[in-house]
């Protein structure tokens, strides 16, 4: 090869060893790991030393200890002789209950307000705008106090209770509603309800398949309503009406009987619903505005009525935009339910805080909190991702 003789072999300008991205990345990562280990070592050593001096045994053994404090709202049986573990479960149940109730209500209010903001009706649109701008810009804690201190605590005393239909009363100690007492054979009603829902789902699927194949519509809504209400009613009558209602009775100073919904729960539930609804409304508005106008016009041109346009064309496409941010609002609501501690509703954080003060097991309690909230977040995310995948339009 002649060319090799004529061209002197020149080493390509080698970049410095230090500038090689691969070497750099290894060096950086080694340094990060070393720093992390050193930091963890420092923290762990100090923690062990501090715990030893404070005479706190670490580990989760304390969960079997006697709680010794009462919980105002317990949906599963609980008394102060039960364990810390049980108390935490009571708190967890309370968190889940207020989160689910809040999510359902916030979604309903949020959709109404969000659609209302796009209404052609000037007054409705303005009212919805004011609602959103007010609630988006004040802290959720303040909304909770607003309901708790401003509204619910100035309600009348029990003897001047405000009476609602169906034997319910509202006063400063809470909302008293009739309590259902499940007699013998009442489980059949629940079975009938589940059966009714299952049959409605089946009917809806069959009706859809038939409409796709033959074009014949089937009144799914009325059939389902009939099934879901009719079957349990039938079971109720057949089993000899085993469910009775215990109505609260107004005594001299207090109400007796019935079921009481504590003002702490009502304050937290209303505050979370109203606060999150403002954010959901904005998401819904953005979703509907995100659907191309041509879609609405094309479906009108196909001869669909305005209701059908919204139901069959606009909302399914808007849902694609709405669901991901909606998921994060649901997660926010669940996390904001920890503000319960400010009004004394015994959720997971409030119960955990009491245990933390009593036993000093701060690391374990914080670990349990993190674990539970992370699991709740992941569970909600998984459900919403499944729902998202189901709603997403399949692109061909």
């Amino acid at each position: 090869m002649a060319s090799q003789d004529t061209l002197p072999h020149i080493e390509p300008a080698r970049a410095s060893f230090l500038n090689d991205p691969k070497v750099r990345s290894v060096v950086v990562q080694v340094i990060v790991v070393l720093l992390l280990i050193a930091g963890l070592w420092f923290i762990v050593a100090n923690t062990i030393e501090n715990l030893r001096r404070a005479n706190i045994a670490s580990g989760f053994g304390f969960l079997n200890g006697r709680a010794g404090f009462d919980i105002a709202v317990a949906l599963i049986p609980y008394d102060l002789n039960m364990t810390y573990g049980r108390a935490l479960i009571v708190g967890l149940v309370n968190t889940v209950v207020v989160a689910i109730a809040g999510i359902v209500t916030a979604t309903i209010i949020g959709f109404l307000v969000g659609i209302g903001r796009l209404s052609g009706n000037w007054l409705i649109a303005k009212i919805c705008t004011v609602y959103v701008e007010v609630f988006r810009n004040i802290p959720p804690l303040l909304v909770i106090f607003f309901w708790y201190l401003g509204v619910l605590s100035v309600l009348p005393l029990p003897r001047d209770s405000i009476e609602f239909p169906l034997g319910s009363f509202l006063n400063s100690r809470g909302l008293y509603v009739p309590k259902a007492i499940w007699g013998e054979g009442a489980w059949l009603i629940l079975v009938a309800l589940v059966l009714g829902i299952a049959m409605s789902v089946f009917v809806a699927r069959r009706a859809r398949a038939r409409q796709m194949a033959t074009g014949q519509a089937f009144p799914v809504l009325w059939t389902s309503l009939g099934l879901i209400i009719g079957l349990p009613l039938l079971a109720f009558l057949v089993t000899g009406m085993p469910v009775t209602f215990e109505v609260p009775v107004l005594g001299t100073f207090n109400l007796s009987g019935g079921m009481v919904v504590k003002p702490e729960f009502i304050a937290l539930y209303l505050a979370l619903s109203f606060y999150t609804a403002a954010f959901i409304a904005e998401i819904v508005r953005a979703g509907i505005k995100g659907v191309n106008r041509g879609q609405t016009e094309a479906s009108s041109a196909l001869g669909l009525r305005p209701g059908q346009v919204l139901r069959l064309v606009v909302i399914p496409q808007a849902m694609r935009i709405v669901i991901p941010p909606l998921t994060s609002q649901y997660l926010n609501l669940t996390k904001n339910s920890s503000l319960a501690i400010a009004v004394g509703y015994p959720d997971l954080v409030a119960v955990g805080g009491t245990i933390l003060n009593q036993s000093g097991q701060s690391i374990e309690i914080v670990a349990i909190w993190m674990l539970v909230y992370l699991s709740l977040s992941i569970a909600t995310s998984i459900f919403m991702n499944w729902f998202n995948a189901k709603m997403a339009l399949v692109e061909r």
């Binding site: 990345s25 950086v28 990562q29 990060v32 790991v33 992390l36 420092f42 923290i43 100090n46 923690t47 030393e49 501090n50 715990l51 001096r53 209404s119 052609g120 009706n121 000037w122 007054l123 409705i124 009212i127 701008e133 007010v134 988006r136 810009n137 004040i138 802290p139 959720p140 804690l141 303040l142 106090f145 607003f146 201190l149 401003g150 605590s153 100035v154 996390k335 904001n336 339910s337 920890s338 503000l339 501690i341 400010a342 954080v349 805080g353 933390l356 701060s362 690391i363 914080v366 909190w369 993190m370 909230y373 992370l374 977040s377 992941i378």
Partner: protein, 385 residues
């Protein structure tokens, strides 16, 4: 030549005609916007009835029946409650807010030293306003003063202990002062920290990436209350015995860490929206990693996510109210604490205080969101995909 040309070409414009009578004026506006159809009319009427039921009592309570002046609770209580108002009276007790206004602003900051807080506030406004108004020149110098010089000056002025200034313990701080200090520090720390976390999450180094993901997801998965609890209960455990750092500082660390994780996700959204060609273009120009990020990618990415960043700021500002749960007195905390002041406790006090605190928070948050909308429009270069 054609003699019977019937075509007609108008050469001068017709004078503009007013819109038809049915399309203008108040009545047609009413018909178009409130009564365009029967259901619409029903909705309007329902809304009007609700407004008529809600607005007069609210306005009466806030303004007409409110007690504006007074020296103690008797001005805001009915005769039956031991006051001077007629029975059945209900109105806002602005006298309470009036009397407590300084407390709501400064907390228990010593009376003689409050001028220091006022000086800091004036500096804050004096540096922030020119920074926010786009037409004022010397933005760079202004930003350096605001983000680097101002915090140091503010620290020395507020904490004291130097230059003959009396040392003021942070447990004496309270009210709007605490809310603003927490938010300012949270914002100033979370933005750079969030950017670093977001870059780390998109890094090619697996360990760095993993650490950033774990931190971001763990913090975002838990409520702020638990992070604050952790900061106030667990930080002392992590440090050697005898090292004790301030409760206020612990809350600051908790709030900043929390906000950083959210900021990181917002910034990541912006980074993902930058087309790959921008990264490759920067590489082919021979820019290093930090040059590429700071000169090419981040300026575009951050501009895209301004609304998200401001939303995080607003969220942070609202979240500072949670420090009252770990026993600090921010704006909301100090208002609540004063409900139990025996000199002012009356049935109207809590509601009045909450409405006042709500208005303060609202003004700040609403201002931030409006400013972000203004900036968004200004920075919109029309390149949005």
């Amino acid at each position: 030549m054609q003699e019977h040309d019937l075509s007609f070409v108008r050469v001068e414009m017709l004078a503009a005609q007013p819109a038809p009578r049915s399309e203008r004026g108040f009545l047609s506006w009413l018909q178009g916007n409130l009564f365009s159809s029967v259901p619409d009319a029903i909705l309007t009427l329902v809304a009007l009835v609700i407004l008529a039921l809600v607005l007069p009592p609210v306005l009466n309570w806030l303004l007409l029946d409110a007690q504006w002046t007074g020296t103690d609770r008797s001005f805001c209580a009915t005769v039956a409650q031991g006051g001077i108002q007629p029975d059945g009276w209900s109105g806002a007790c602005w006298a309470f807010v009036n009397a407590k206004f300084e407390t709501f602003m400064f907390g228990r900051y010593p009376l003689d030293e409050r001028w220091r807080v006022i000086v800091v506030a004036l500096l804050f406004v004096g540096l922030l306003v020119p920074l926010l108004v786009p037409s004022v020149p010397r933005k760079g110098l202004n930003a350096v003063l605001f983000f680097f010089v101002f915090p140091i000056v503010a620290y020395f002025l507020l904490v004291g202990g130097w230059f003959g200034l009396e040392h003021v313990e942070t447990y004496l701080w309270g009210g709007l002062l605490v809310t603003l200090v927490l938010s300012f520090v949270g914002i100033a720390v979370s933005l750079p920290f969030g950017i670093v976390l977001a870059l780390g999450r998109r890094s090619k180094m697996p360990i760095v990436k993993l650490l950033c993901i774990v931190f971001i997801e763990a913090v975002r998965g838990v409520p702020l209350v638990t992070v604050l609890f952790m900061a106030s209960v667990m930080f002392p455990l992590f440090l050697p015995a005898g090292v004790n750092f301030d409760k206020f500082l612990r809350a600051l660390v908790g709030v900043s860490l929390f906000a950083s994780a959210y900021m990181a996700e917002v910034v990541r959204g912006g980074l993902q929206a930058i087309p790959k060609g921008q990264y490759e273009g920067a590489d082919s120009l021979g820019l290093g990693y930090w040059q590429k990020m700071s000169l090419i990618v981040l300026p575009q990415a951050l501009k895209l996510v301004i609304p998200g960043i401001v939303n995080t700021f607003i969220g942070l500002f609202k979240d500072t109210s949670l420090v009252s749960i770990i026993g600090m007195f921010d704006m909301l905390g100090i208002v609540r604490q004063n409900f139990s002041d025996a000199n002012w406790a009356s049935p109207q006090t809590p509601m009045t205080g909450l409405v006042f605190a709500g208005m303060v928070f609202w003004v700040f948050c609403f201002g931030m969101s409006r400013y972000s909308m203004f900036m968004e429009r200004r920075l919109d270069t029309g390149h949005k995909r």
